[in-house]
């Protein structure tokens, strides 16, 4: 059940549930997806059990094409390895698939993201010293080598600064041409799905702009919760309400214990 302090949206789904469902929709059947821990694992499993049964999940710890059992809490959780075709090494996955160019989509969880989709998961500057975060893990590798990066995170002002304090994972760096100048593949796009909206890079300016809103969310609300001032796409659309099947699978099959969704709701309810 959606928690009280986050308004229910289409078909009684909470914003957090719809965020996961919207992210899942962006994965196409047959794609090879490099899946990070947390909500990406949940959303990719949802896609696999609904519209994209032939999606190939690849998980950093050496897991290839598992049929994930609910509800893994780690990339090293055996539930994330269930019936994989290969359980191998980090080198095979990060080197032989990701750096080699065989991954279609990289799918990352919450982090600090700036206007040019650069990601910080290393350290946040604070008045008295820094706040240390976990670091890159495989995120820098994903952002360096994937042609398409999908990010799911809840929408808070502090998570969307004008410029990251520290660039752990490269988005478009300083804007148009930035990736070429750094020697990175310029064939690159980013979509950020949050509990308020969807933001995608403008093909020209490379800056993130608002391209869709969650049902019942006004654009002002998104701008208020975004540290930089994003453009708003002329063809701004509304995120479609969930198909009942999506919601059933998500609630009953994938996260019956609400391991993920409750935490996300708690997080975003701080806003309310």
């Amino acid at each position: 059940m959606p928690s009280g302090d986050t308004p229910a949206v289409g078909a009684g789904a909470s914003r957090q549930e719809l965020m996961v469902i919207e992210a899942a929709r962006r994965l196409r059947d047959g794609e090879v997806v490099f899946v990070g821990t947390g909500l990406p694992l949940l959303a990719t499993t949802l896609a696999q059990r609904t519209h994209a049964p032939h999606i190939v999940m690849v998980i950093e710890s050496g897991v290839i094409a598992p049929q994930v059992r609910p509800t893994p809490i780690s990339v090293s959780d055996p539930k994330a390895m269930y019936r994989a075709v290969r359980l191998g090494t980090l080198r095979e996955v990060l080197g032989g698939l990701l750096q080699r160019g065989l991954i279609d989509v990289g799918f990352l969880g919450g982090a600090q993201i700036d206007r040019y989709a650069n990601i910080n998961s290393t350290q946040i500057a604070r008045p008295h010293g820094i706040r240390r975060l976990p670091g890159s893990g495989g995120a820098n590798d994903m952002a360096s080598h994937c042609r398409r990066l999908l990010i799911i995170t809840h929408h808070e002002r502090r998570r969307f600064p004008e410029r990251c304090d520290y660039i752990t994972s490269p988005g478009f760096l300083d804007g148009p041409g930035g990736r070429q100048r750094a020697g990175l593949n310029p064939d690159f796009s980013v979509a950020v799905v949050t509990d308020l909206a969807v933001m995608e890079n403008d093909p020209e300016t490379c800056a993130l702009r608002v391209t869709a809103l969650m049902p019942g969310v006004r654009v002002e609300e998104v701008l208020a919760e975004t540290g930089f001032r994003p453009e708003v796409a002329p063809d701004l659309r509304a995120v479609a309400p969930p198909a009942s099947d999506d919601l059933r699978v998500l609630r009953d099959e994938l996260d019956p214990g609400r391991l993920y969704l409750k935490a996300e709701e708690a997080a975003s309810s701080r806003r309310a």
Binding site: T37, G38, E60, S61, G62, V63, R69, I73, S74, V75, S76, D77, P78, K79, M81, Y82, L87, G88, T89, L90, R91, L94, G95, L98, Q99, T122, G129, I130, R131, R132, L133, P134, G135, S136, G137, G138, A139, N140, D141, S144, H145, Y166, I167, T168, S169, P170, L173, G178, R179, R181, A182, G183, L184, L259
Partner: protein, 304 residues
């Protein structure tokens, strides 16, 4: 080479882990972290360590909490849903712990270079990010940018080889010579083990060399790299060992609570769970006990 390398954790750690050593850490997050060998290092209070790995989690954090770590080199420090590695974070924030940050691919590439006996490995990660030291050289030894000689103007990052003085890993099966079999995911361990000057392996099950010779393609790493074999069932507890037992969320959380609080709470946790016991089995009995361990084994059987 053909020696029987079976010994106690106490003897293995005393013989092969020196103060100030570069310590390679096996496992990832809540999977196959070599906790029995980590506890033994804490028990013997071997300090000044540089801990290296790809993801460093509860084992590293307990070593830091025990005041034994000077520096870490890794791609990440965290326990995912259980939160960050709090002693590590605190040490970095208050300046008592040095860190060198890489991506996971960059770290496993460093181990690969060490395994192959070459001084560096090329990677195409790190470019454009703050993980790359500034062009003026930055911190020496971390990474340098060069050109692809077959396509000048194409930058390539070189990361330096990493050969730990000693690595500790926990695996499913090993024989007395030190032939080891890792089942399920292997993370960065095959490269790290082959890159290391010494290797201590703890295993769930001791098998015979005849069993190894019966399926030679299943041997993950041959005995030539291994110095000590410690037979320790549940040696990764409270993290999981694929095919044997699941992680123990309550015990991981119990440590995390102490680690978050820090100072005396960590000291108390280590006193009660490490220093109070002569061996890892003492900890297993205190924190878990046979029925609970059996439940974790049953949980693993359900999902594998």
């Amino acid at each position: 080479m053909y020696a029987d390398k079976v010994m106690s954790a106490a003897e293995a750690v005393a013989r092969f882990v020196r103060p100030g050593a570069v310590l390679g850490m096996g496992g990832q997050n809540i999977g196959r972290v070599p906790m029995a060998l980590t506890h033994e290092i804490i028990r013997q209070r071997i300090g000044g360590l540089t801990v290296v790995g790809c993801n460093l989690s509860i084992g590293m954090d307990q070593l830091v909490g025990a005041g034994l770590v000077r520096r870490c080199e890794s791609g990440s420090g965290n326990l995912e849903r259980f939160g960050t590695t709090f002693c590590w974070r605190r040490g970095i924030e208050d300046g008592t712990l040095e860190v060198e940050d890489y991506s996971h691919l960059a770290m496993v590439s460093r181990f690969l270079a060490g395994e192959m006996g070459v001084p560096f490995m090329p990677v195409r990660s790190l470019l454009g990010s703050d993980l790359l030291p500034p062009p003026d050289g930055g911190r020496p030894g971390k990474a340098v940018v060069t050109e692809n000689p077959w396509s000048p103007a194409e930058p390539v990052v070189l990361v330096p080889a990493l050969q730990p003085d000693v690595s500790i890993v926990h695996v499913q099966r090993a024989d007395p010579l030190g032939n080891i079999i890792i089942e399920g995911f292997a993370t960065h361990e095959p490269e790290m083990i082959r890159a290391s000057r010494h290797v201590i392996v703890s295993c769930e099950t001791l098998i015979t060399t005849d069993e190894v010779r019966a399926h030679p393609e299943r041997t993950t790493v041959p005995f030539l790299y291994v110095d000590a074999v410690v037979v320790q069932p549940c040696g990764a507890y409270p993290t999981s060992t694929y095919g044997f037992y699941d992680y123990d969320a309550d015990e991981v959380s119990a440590y995390q609570e102490a680690a978050r609080a820090g100072g005396p709470a960590v000291e108390a946790y280590l006193a009660a769970n490490v220093w109070a016991h002569g061996t890892f089995d003492g900890y297993l009995m205190r924190a878990a006990g046979p029925p609970h361990l059996e439940a974790l084994a049953e949980a693993m059987r359900e999902i594998t």
